[in-house]
């Protein structure tokens, strides 16, 4: 198939801001963060949401950074609700007060996804780079359930917490979550920068997968467990984004529209901005979205592979990052001529020593630090 006419997108990830009180070393935001001054204003975000609804978007993920850093969050949620969009708040919890959570629920918010860093408070706070974060998150979970909102707990798994993957599922149950995501770290951006400190040993990763899969069965009907396995250990690559530019799009704080949150890693791509084009134009015609649609771009071994319609050759960003060319097979695939690169990286895997790791924390550069200090998390 030659670059087919694109299907309609179902999901939009709106990165409302890159400001965040936490500093998680695996953050999915790019290394170059957008400063507050570059963020889209309220009117523009509302226009983007309206365009999203008319292009066929069903679910709107309000993310960041910490979306509660935006003072207009309630107004944005209310607008999404008026359009019939299913709104999902992806939050660290820091900056959410009980009053704010109640207002968001009244404005029509559909769902809250709250991150936790570990089930051990001290370790959790060290990973987040924020003292007291863990205790605060437990409080926020109760604000969410008391407001009648459904809660998902999200936990990213890496060397420092891999032994407690099961404990985090159990914590999610205690917090009243109906769903939990246990996601092994993906190594892009900050995750790639900290890879040597994050990569768990194969034995510990496999033990964690087994525990979580067992809990998934045991807790069926109590909590839904969505499990993202570590792709570096896999035989075939993940079907990244269910195919490039097929189902979702991502708008950065400054309005750049990406096929996935890591796509800016690939230097050859040209992204369009919501300031210059409608979302529909961007979805249909922007060079970045059309770059890897269909399979004309594929090389061997993907091109003649029977799995190309299953995993789409894996992840374009990972192919670029590891092999230097986004058109190559994702080196995670054992059929990739670059697979040895993954084996080399796996040699960085270590058993955790339970010592606090000297992470390169996700922070804005010094020139952006002023913005960070003005972070408005007091809420009303």
């Amino acid at each position: 198939m030659n670059a087919p006419f694109p299907s309609r997108p179902v999901g939009l990830l709106a990165e409302l801001t890159h400001r965040c009180p936490l500093a998680c070393p695996y953050c999915s935001n790019p290394l170059e963060l957008d400063a507050r001054e570059r963020e889209l204003d309220t009117t523009t975000w509302k226009r983007v949401f309206s365009e999203a609804a008319s292009v066929g978007i069903l679910q709107l993920h309000l993310s960041g950074g910490e979306p509660a850093s935006r003072r207009d969050l309630v107004e944005l949620v209310a607008h999404a609700a008026s359009l019939g969009l299913y709104s999902n708040l992806i939050t660290s919890g820091i900056g959410l007060t009980q009053v704010l959570v109640t207002k968001l629920a009244e404005a029509g918010l559909d769902h809250v996804q709250l991150s936790i860093q570990d089930s051990e408070p001290q370790s959790a706070d060290h990973i987040a780079g924020y003292k007291g974060a863990f205790a605060r998150k437990l409080e926020v979970a109760s604000f969410v359930t008391e407001a009648g909102l459904p809660l998902t707990v999200n936990a990213v798994i890496h060397r420092a917490n891999v032994r407690r993957a099961g404990a985090m599922v159990e914590l999610a149950v205690r917090l009243g979550a109906r769903r939990v995501e246990i996601a092994h770290t993906q190594y892009y951006g900050w995750g790639a920068k900290n890879r040597g400190l994050l990569m768990p040993s194969r034995e510990e990763a496999e033990a964690a997968i087994e525990v979580v899969e067992r809990l998934k069965t045991q807790l069926s009907g109590t909590i839904v467990v969505d499990h993202v396995a570590p792709d570096y250990h896999a035989r075939y690559p993940k079907p990244c984004m269910s195919g490039w530019a097929k189902r979702t799009l991502n708008v950065t704080p400054a309005g750049k529209v990406l096929p996935c949150h890591a796509a800016e890693l690939i230097p050859e791509l040209e992204f369009w901005n919501v300031a210059d084009h409608s979302l529909e134009e961007i979805w249909n015609d922007s060079p970045a979205f059309n770059a890897f649609r269909g399979d004309d771009w594929m090389r061997e071994p993907c091109r003649s592979c029977s799995r190309k319609s299953i995993d789409f050759g894996g992840c374009r960003c990972q192919a670029f990052m590891l092999s230097g060319d986004a058109r190559n097979a994702d080196p995670v695939c054992h059929l990739s001529p670059h697979h040895q690169l993954v084996e080399t990286i796996l040699a960085e895997a270590r058993v955790d020593t339970q010592e606090p790791q000297p992470y390169a924390y996700r922070r804005m550069r010094p020139s952006q630090a002023v913005t960070r200090e003005r972070l408005d998390i007091s809420a009303e």
Partner: protein
């Protein structure tokens, strides 16, 4: 609690879609969809009729009676369909019983 959701499906249960799960007619695609956390489920015509009645007001028995008479269908067949759908959705925490 594990696995009890299916057993808890008595005729007196009043199934309802919890907050965060919405049945929506998508005008862009012209189809009924069930929207849930990180999920969009396509629904066939039978499922739509069942889910429209899951408001927490009608009991399962009443929903079955209603559907059987509305569509002039055999009650036992309707009941089988309703129970199968609700059990599956309750396991995924998409319906509260």
């Amino acid at each position: 609690m594990t696995g009890e959701s299916a057993l808890a499906l008595s005729g007196a249960s009043r199934p309802r879609l919890p907050r965060g799960v919405r049945l929506k007619h998508d005008d862009v695609r012209n189809e009924w969809l069930l929207l849930a956390p990180e999920r969009v489920l396509k629904t066939n015509a039978i499922a739509v009729e069942i889910l429209k009645r899951c408001s927490g007001e009608q009991s399962l028995d009443a929903i079955v009676d209603d559907l059987a008479s509305t569509f002039s269908a055999e009650r036992s067949r309707v009941e089988t369909d309703v129970r199968a759908l609700l059990t599956e959705l309750a396991t995924k925490r998409l319906v509260d019983l």
